[in-house]
Subunit: 401 residues, 2 copies
Amino acid sequence: MSIMKPEAESSRLANRYRLTQMLRTAGPTARIDLGAATGLSPATVSAITAEMMRDGQLVELKGGVGENGSTGRGRPKILVDLDPEAGFVVAVKLSINDVQLMVGDYRGQIARLTHVALNTLALTGQQLIDTLIGHIEKLRQEEEGKYRRLLGIGLAAQGLVAEGRLVWSPALSARNVDLAGALAERFHCAVSVENDANCIALALKSQAAYRAYDDIAVIMLGYGIGMGLILGGALYKGRSGAAAEFGHTKFQPDGPMCQCGKRGCVETYISDYALYRDARLTLDLPDGDAAHPSEEQMAWLSEAAASGNPVALGLFEQAGRVLGHGIANVIAMLAPQKVLISGAGVRAFSFMEPAMRNSLEHSLVDELVKGSEVEAVAWDKDMTGLGIIAQLLDLAERPGA
Amino acid sequence: MSIMKPEAESSRLANRYRLTQMLRTAGPTARIDLGAATGLSPATVSAITAEMMRDGQLVELKGGVGENGSTGRGRPKILVDLDPEAGFVVAVKLSINDVQLMVGDYRGQIARLTHVALNTLALTGQQLIDTLIGHIEKLRQEEEGKYRRLLGIGLAAQGLVAEGRLVWSPALSARNVDLAGALAERFHCAVSVENDANCIALALKSQAAYRAYDDIAVIMLGYGIGMGLILGGALYKGRSGAAAEFGHTKFQPDGPMCQCGKRGCVETYISDYALYRDARLTLDLPDGDAAHPSEEQMAWLSEAAASGNPVALGLFEQAGRVLGHGIANVIAMLAPQKVLISGAGVRAFSFMEPAMRNSLEHSLVDELVKGSEVEAVAWDKDMTGLGIIAQLLDLAERPGA
């Protein structure tokens, strides 16, 4: 190895990384298609796949489908895929009163998922750390016989994360908990602690549909309004970790009060709590905690709009108008190739969309609008977990990381 | 070289690059201080400086100052510095009716500056290309005896630049001029074409005061409102080149008309043209083109504020309020470590600043505001040129570029 030319060695690692990423997104693939998709020569693909099989990271799948997708005559293609057992990661999603523990396999899929009920708001920082370590240790012991090695541990939560510390989260009363430090000390592996909107941005970026885009803004509609930014191909969160607070960009000076204590933030027009707060002024809404509306309460409001209730329709229309205005600011500042809208709040996106598009066109010249495609992405609760897993596998394998 | 370990080779190049960048910012430095500033060992500094002297890029300066800055007793330190003649770049700044041509030396300084009067708005794209090539060729012939080699050619202009094409500029009637292609074909060297606010952001990033910051938003006040973004240590402009249009982020839905044809953009409250447009509704202003106010016209407005004229003071106060609101959106979205305000419009910043700070605090929670320092930077017309030069030298030397 030490007599290999430096350029050759670094491009070998980069190419191996590219093939691994490609397989993780595309699934089982013939070598010739791997070459076509990456632009690598057949000899390079052959050398790298041989090396990865030797290292136990790749398996051949016999009896793949033939050309044109038929299973019929002719010589079947041999497909290769990552060996799911080559390694595993543990992903933890922390929410109010719920801890979701996931095992991610080497293919980047969720291989196991468990929930633990926990009164998160009552825990001290140390109690949270001890509890999480206990659950992760138990999971590790149960799983480590099945996989060759533990590649990393990651945690996601709503709120502000900086340098591995959970500075503030709506799920916790404790502040500034050094989770990454405690987990790294205990488990001696790669550890990540991340804001959940950032995890979702990473999960979307790793999907085939978005892999080619370097600059993506992901807006998360739900109880609050979150954002994850992929800029220049990587997660952008600022040195303090406080970037991408789209919910607290402004619609109107001196607008309605927001939960942050300031006025006119886009969140105070678009979020579940804001929509429900405004709806209950005139509508007879189902019982429940009006300040923290449940999925059922929000579904009721969407159904009211679907059945033509003018108050509900008006609220979603106004939310769409504010969302379009906020997206205009995102596009003016960052010109992302894609603006993706997801989160539980996309349930009512169809009632917001016409006003959102109208407001965007009303706010910004065509030359700027046309470079950024705005689209909704169906909400999938597993996306946070998939994002943590993608990030950990990337951390473990990216050349030079 | 081919038996050097790959890690050693790539870190040697990276270290050489770091020392070069350091010297370009700090000027003459003793080897021991280079080591202290970069964390490199004395042996590494010694090896790299010897190599750079052999390559003709570094010179020793005898008779440097002693410890404590004294010129007195004891053994004087030997300082090293970049050899200004190791290479040169040509930087061109294109403005309405003016082309500024600069020679940048290997230390990154402007070694020569000339102006050419030119009716820029009357030129076709091809005429512009031919004229620029003529002037650059003349300059190259005059200068190439003095320097060892031409390292690059760069051009900056206001407007939208994408992939080396000047898509749109207020200085030109021609659209979509492929300047980078034409210059590269003619001169066979590194070529950059860049928006002028981006050049200024690069110039500031290369200054000692800001070198340590990875995330910097530079806001340019003047005839229009520009922005340059340094994110993750590098210029961010989006794939389309259209990012950082801070001037067209929004203050208020359905606010006053902006030059872009939309309403309520921050530019239509803060820019020279907007301030002058509003001032002339009630003030008796000096003669001149009111739609394109000159520096003298704007100076008159600043002096009116300085002498306590309530209309002028009110306009700058409103501009400050809008600027603070716009900066709140920048901080919420990007959490830059520094927000720097410059451009010709900083002439009146003292009249805007109290309202700007008040509006920022009014708009955004302390936790977000406190992570980003907002400060004005005195306007220096050479900054665009210094930014082009810094970018070209970086392009020519960055490992892996």
